[in-house]
Amino acid sequence: MDTVLSIKNLSKHYGRVKAVDDLSLEVQRGNVFGILGPNGSGKTTTLGTILNVINQTSGTFEWFGQKGDQNTRKRIGAILEHPIFYPYLTGVQNLKIVCDIKEVPYSRVEEVLKVVSLDERKDSKFKTYSLGMKQRLSIASALLCDPEVMILDEPTNGLDPQGIAEIRDLIIEIANSGKTIILASHLLDEVQKVCTHFCVLQRGKLIHTGLVEDVGKGSLNVEVKADVENLQAVLEGSGMASHIKRELDKYTMTMHNGYSAAQVNEYLFKQGITAKHLVVKTKTLEKQFLEILAGQEGGQS
């Protein structure tokens, strides 16, 4: 597999504030890479730096194995924060400027406008577009050069549910065509639905990186409810769980390796107890994310 982007020890300081702090990261070809982090964790600063609009304090980064400059940027389609275009120009006029910057033929304009289904309004001025149309135009603009990598920063920010679904489908479609995508977001659900890999930033530091499909692997959680007084004691007596947590009348067992919900059910039945609620909980990215953040904060204090 070849490396599309490699970041080494990147830092950006604004006075005493460390917006990005000693960040190292690699993105391989074909990855759909999610960058997660709360607001202000340095996602946009990192993307701005690797796109040369922000000068880093220290560290290096490479695109396609070479130093990033305007020629590597021509092979990247990127949108940072909200869509930016000349408001007094039409969609087509705006995209033609991008064509000239990226040195691709004007014929691409019609093609990408069809992909994002914006051809009906292509001759209206940008300032008359709705937010959803603006987002679609910026995705069209990022697609103009048939990019090897797409960088999307909060692409569904501010959209209504229908708009979010549209943009998300578009991103999945683009990802399926084999393009590498780097997606920054604070919406965990979005990253889980779209991405293959993810990393978590906090206060400019990289605190976790891994596969989305690995989320939920590892320890299994089983929720149990039953109308028995001493349920907790019975469950503890089984020796199957490393930890049991009580929430009202519900008990969540964190299982030892090798034990499953079926064995819990069998065990309870042998004890003469019928469970009225028995559910296997897979961990969501949200839960993992909060765990990672909590672990980090615990570790620091």
């Binding site: 701005g48 796109l51 609009v53 940072l80 120009l89 400027i97 910057i101 040195e103």
Partner: protein, 270 residues
């Protein structure tokens, strides 16, 4: 370079503020070349009313080759602010729309971005000079009594000097625009600097006898490259040529602002 000019033209051509300012400028250039003669004729008719025969302002060879070149360029350079505004608009808008950032993300280097603006300044200067040259030719042919090819092009190098003056001024406006980034404030500063600061400094210093002041004020340096031609019509001596120290000052300012503008854009985070 053609790519950068094409990008720039695509940006400004549909813009209304640019079209309005540029056409105002062209109209103003046109007016100078057309209106002075009727004005002189009007003066003549007034003098006749006052029974002052013998004074005929229309014999002033304002529009005759080769005088016309210095005359119209000296007048025309005073309209440069109009063109400066259109350029200030185009560069400060890039900052307020944040399109400069998107341009760089899309694959323009910071240097290419600002050079595209400078190329545009060069294009506007050459276009204005060409327009003025055509106007000068036409009016000259209409009003000159005996035309010879030598006379027509004698002193026409003033048109090239005009292009240089305009280009230097436009690079200066770009510098102001890039430095201040807000269109209205940048325009205000440009007007205040050109009309007030330089005039006061110049007036005060020349009064005190420090004549070198004209060389250290950018806009004054640009203006003084072509000297006022009109006193010669009342038989005073004027400088009807370009001197090297004055040309040197303008070229030095051009180099300075070119360097400073590029540096400002390249060094800053977007």
């Amino acid at each position: 370079m053609m790519r950068l000019l094409r990008i720039e033209l695509q940006k400004v051509r549909p813009s209304r503020s640019f079209k309005v300012l540029a056409s105002m400028y062209l109209v103003a250039l046109f007016v100078i070349c057309v209106v002075v003669m009727p004005f002189l004729q009007y003066l003549k008719s007034r003098f006749e009313d006052f029974d002052m025969d013998g004074i005929d302002p229309t014999i002033i060879p304002f529009y005759e080759f080769p005088d016309i070149w210095q005359n119209i360029t000296w007048v025309a350079i005073h309209l440069k602010l109009l063109l400066g505004f259109s350029l200030i608009f185009s560069v400060t808008n890039e900052f307020s729309y944040r399109t400069i950032r998107q341009n760089v993300i899309d694959g323009l280097s910071q240097k290419e971005f600002i050079i595209s603006k400078i190329v545009m300044a060069g294009f506007l200067s050459l276009a204005s000079a060409a327009f003025l040259f055509v106007l000068g030719m036409i009016t000259g042919l209409i009003y000159t009594s005996d035309i010879s090819l030598g006379l027509m092009f004698e002193d026409s190098y003033f048109i090239l000097i005009f292009a240089l003056q305009l280009f230097t001024f436009l690079v200066f406006t770009l510098f102001v625009g890039v430095l201040i980034k807000k269109s209205i404030i940048a325009m205000g500063v440009l007007i205040f600097w050109t009309m007030v600061v330089e005039n006061i400094a110049w007036g005060r210093m020349t009064y005190l006898g420090y004549d070198w002041i004209g060389y250290v004020l950018p806009v004054k340096s640009i203006n003084q490259l072509v000297h006022v031609p009109f006193p010669k019509y009342v038989f005073q001596e004027v400088q009807d040529y370009i001197t090297f120290p004055e040309l040197g000052a303008v070229l030095a300012f051009l180099a300075l602002f070119y360097w400073a503008t590029i540096r400002l854009v390249v060094k800053r985070d977007l």
